[in-house]
């Protein structure tokens, strides 16, 4: 297969993505004395506590002052350190957007922005805490890599890859217990992975929605519909070759993300297809152009039609 490695992300293991990145961060801190961690009074909620306990002199709780935190992170970056800035996705990307843009993006300083409570994963926290814009905003920053891994292992791998990546990185951590990744599929920024083979339609997914996409593909297979699942853990730079191959080899594309349908993975796929003159039908699943109501996250995913049932239904509609 020219564009990726087939592997399975569905074997459940009781290690959350939060715990997983927290451990990876401690490993990085042990190996690299230039790694520092900054949070805005959220070290416990974000599970940055492991790093705080291991390296107190390199851990900074800067209080509920996000603009100062990101500016200070740029001061660290300009002084030879590599800051990992950890926050809730909405505040990370919106309250301090201009600092990320002008203090990191423009001067090409290296920082890693780790966000929790992505998409509607906070559920009943309400719209102030739902991050449905973060992927779109971070895609707008030149040189920013935008990562949305699906599971705990890949979140750890993404954290390590973010360290090695030459530019700034936005890493969106999906909440809750999630599936375990493949042993033999390396996490390479910019390279999508095929988690289900199929030639009828392609579901392009990122974050925890890859698990739902795989379930949808399995249900469709029972009815003889063979949906490929393309796991784009890197929303930017998008693996355009894998997307275009899917568009040429299957009859419909359905994108799935825990984000607004505007500007995130669906937007990136739409830009890629249109730019290549590709007429393959595209359906974008995610949060439509509205703020979400209160509800538990699985209820919200069903409400907006991007749980496994909703994804399967969208594939059927696209092929009808």
């Amino acid at each position: 297969m020219p564009y990726g490695t087939t592997y399975n992300v569905d074997t459940l293991e009781q290690l959350t993505s939060y715990e997983s990145y927290g451990r990876a961060l401690v490993e990085l801190g042990r190996a690299h004395p230039e790694v520092v961690v900054l949070t805005a009074d959220l070290s416990r909620s974000t599970r940055a506590t492991d790093f705080f306990a291991a390296f107190p002199e390199r851990s900074f709780n800067l209080g509920i002052a996000e603009q100062n935190m990101v500016g200070a992170a740029a001061g660290f970056a300009a002084s030879g350190f590599l800051p990992f800035v950890i926050n809730i996705a909405t505040f990370q990307t919106m309250r301090s957007f201009e600092q990320i843009r002008s203090d990191f993006g423009y001067p090409r300083l290296k920082g890693v922005f780790l966000s929790i409570w992505s998409g509607l994963s906070g559920g009943y926290v309400g719209a102030t805490h739902h991050a449905i814009e973060d992927l779109a905003l971070m895609r707008l920053i030149p040189s920013m890599a935008v990562l949305a891994p699906a599971n705990a292992d890949d979140t750890a791998a993404a954290t390590r890859a973010a360290y090695d990546h030459p530019g700034p990185v936005y890493l969106r951590i999906a909440g809750g217990t999630s599936a375990r990744g493949a042993e033999d599929a390396p996490f390479v920024i910019g390279r999508a992975l095929v988690t289900r083979e199929g030639s009828d339609a392609t579901i392009v997914a990122c974050g925890a929605q890859v698990v739902a996409a795989n379930r949808a593909a399995d249900r469709l297979a029972e009815d003889g519909i063979h949906a490929r699942v393309l796991y784009c853990h890197t929303v930017k730079p998008l693996d355009e070759a894998a997307v275009l191959a899917a568009a040429h080899e299957t009859r419909a594309i359905v994108t799935v993300e825990d984000h607004s349908v505007i500007g995130g993975l669906g937007g990136a796929v739409a830009e890629t297809l249109a730019g290549a003159g590709c007429a393959t039908r595209l359906t974008r699943l995610g949060v439509p152009d509205v703020y979400a109501p209160i509800g538990y996250a699985p209820e919200l995913y069903a409400h907006f039609g991007y749980d496994a049932d909703g994804i399967a239904a969208a594939v059927r509609r696209a092929l009808a």
């Binding site: 002199e57 200070a72 740029a74 001061g75 002084s79 001067p107």
Partner: protein, 278 residues
Amino acid sequence: MMERADDLVARLRARACEIREKTIRLGVQSGSTHFGGSLSMVDVLAVLYFHVMRIDPARPQWEERDRFILSKGHGATSYCPTLATAGFFPDAAMESINHLGSAFGMHIDMRKIPGVDMSTGSLGHGLPVAVGMALADRVARRDRRVFCLMGDAEQNEGSIWEAAQAAGHFRLGRLCAIVDRNRYSSEGDTEEILAIEPLHEKYAAFGWDACRVDGHDIPALLDAFGRLPADPARPVAVIADTIKGKGVSFMEAGATWHYGALSEEDAARAIAEIRAAR
């Protein structure tokens, strides 16, 4: 041999005049620029760059250098000539200003201009970055100092006060903030638009060692900066009372020359006045 105090003051005054003249010339070359706020901060820059700060213009990336952040990035019209006068690059490098591909524009880019420690332009960004640099120096056990020059109307930005809280809380004794208190923003008197006073009391309340000086009085500036770090547990705020457009009579005070263009004739008048003051 130690420089005599009188000689030092005379030398710094001469540098300030030289920078003011270059500011006028660069401003004319730019077409229009922020003359008022560029001229008001020249004496502070002269004292920092030609006496106080540990720098080596031959090695702009020298690790042990003191850091300087121009949070009021629109002061570039005097800041870039200051760097040129200090020897970071030749004056001629600025001739391309504003044209496609030039390192020089209205604001400053750390990746293009030697001696610039942080890219700035958007107000309210400098002090948070300075806080991070001072924290980084603490982790790295470096004895550098970090200077951050801000505008006065910039004090309206909330991010400045987030950083002011952090600097006080983390006891960043090697951090020095300077406010170019020239009293006018783009649209008028700061106290009429959104009052910032009592400014030094505010910094003091945030845990800073705050003082107020005449920002054109070179011996007073030498005293203010000479005692750094004054207290290892307290950041220093120097509120420098200045005159917007200082050194050019028809530009002095008021918001009129916050931003504007100089005719050839007025530029010649301005330069003649600056030279006469030498």
